[in-house]
């Protein structure tokens, strides 16, 4: 660390904390998707198309998720309708 770094460092202080927070979010998100069946993205797309026939919704407004517990799997479909 050189003399001038002492002044420069003050601004972007603790970028490591930002890195940690961003990683925690993205890694948790990707782990959630990891265990999902391969057909899910395609199914989500088709469901989206069906809904769009009737209601104008965006890609992000339809969430499809499979939750597995010991005895059964639950397919969760979440559609945010335009207000």
């Amino acid at each position: 660390m050189s003399f001038f770094d002492y002044f420069r460092n003050k601004r972007g202080a603790n970028s490591a904390a930002t890195a940690r927070e961003r990683l925690q979010v993205i890694v948790a998100h990707e782990r959630g998707q990891r265990n999902q069946p391969d057909y899910l993205p395609r199914m989500q797309q088709e469901i989206l198309e069906v809904i769009r026939k009737y209601i104008p919704v965006e890609q992000d407004d339809v969430q499809v998720q499979v939750d597995e517990s010991n005895s059964c799997s639950v397919l969760e479909l979440n559609v945010t309708l335009p207000g």
Partner: protein, 272 residues
Amino acid sequence: MAKIIVVTSGKGGVGKTTSSAAIGTGLAQRGHATVIVDFDVGLRNLDLIMGCERRVVYDFVNVINGEATLNQALIKDKRTEQLYILPASQTRDKDALTEEGVAAVLEELKGRFDYIVCDSPAGIEKGAQMALYFADEAIVVTNPEVSSVRDSDRILGILQSKSLRAKEGEEPVREHLLLTRYSPARVAAGEMLSVADVEDILAIPLLGVIPESQDVLKASNQGEPVILNDEAQAGQAYSDAVDRLLGENRPHRFLEEQRQGFFQRLLGGGRG
């Protein structure tokens, strides 16, 4: 019983080959018959890092295709007893490594060696999957940097779902985190993820922390695994990691910023 250890990372350039060379050499130094297998078909580099690039005649793919015997393809290391290298092929055929072929070669290696260290190519494609498929243990090489940590997590997911052990429902692949290019000074300045941060995110046991060091480049320039350099911190850190891999207890070193004199700091010297 021979153990297959894959050195993997997802991301390229984080130090897989450097680590494979160091750890393989360290295992052999401790008296275990060891072979380091280069799985990076088309981008052979382990031979350069090990300093045996001019002695490559036959390679992994030649053995799979029956064009050479294992004995013809194995290169005996000149510095370390009980250490051999199986070089990758420089073919551009990405499908050269078949599952059956790799299985047969590994089976033969198991009869001769205590440790089979598989140096994985970068990525999550077939080559990387082949390198980890038969593994008993995995060393996940990670830099304290966002893209490397994320890719390591992806490769952990693949180990947990696509390895032979996962498919057969056997005991899972034993995972180890090897954090490389670590700079305590930058961590102290809040510019780099700390060991604790990476451990917390990846949630696998820590095998070792290799400090960022100019000796690593020097070692690769010379084709000598850095672990042979007793004076280098990186070499010592790899030695500790090998001891831990063998079940010994070693405190982690080089995690704290080394105190520098006032003038050194003023002149910006001594970093790294």
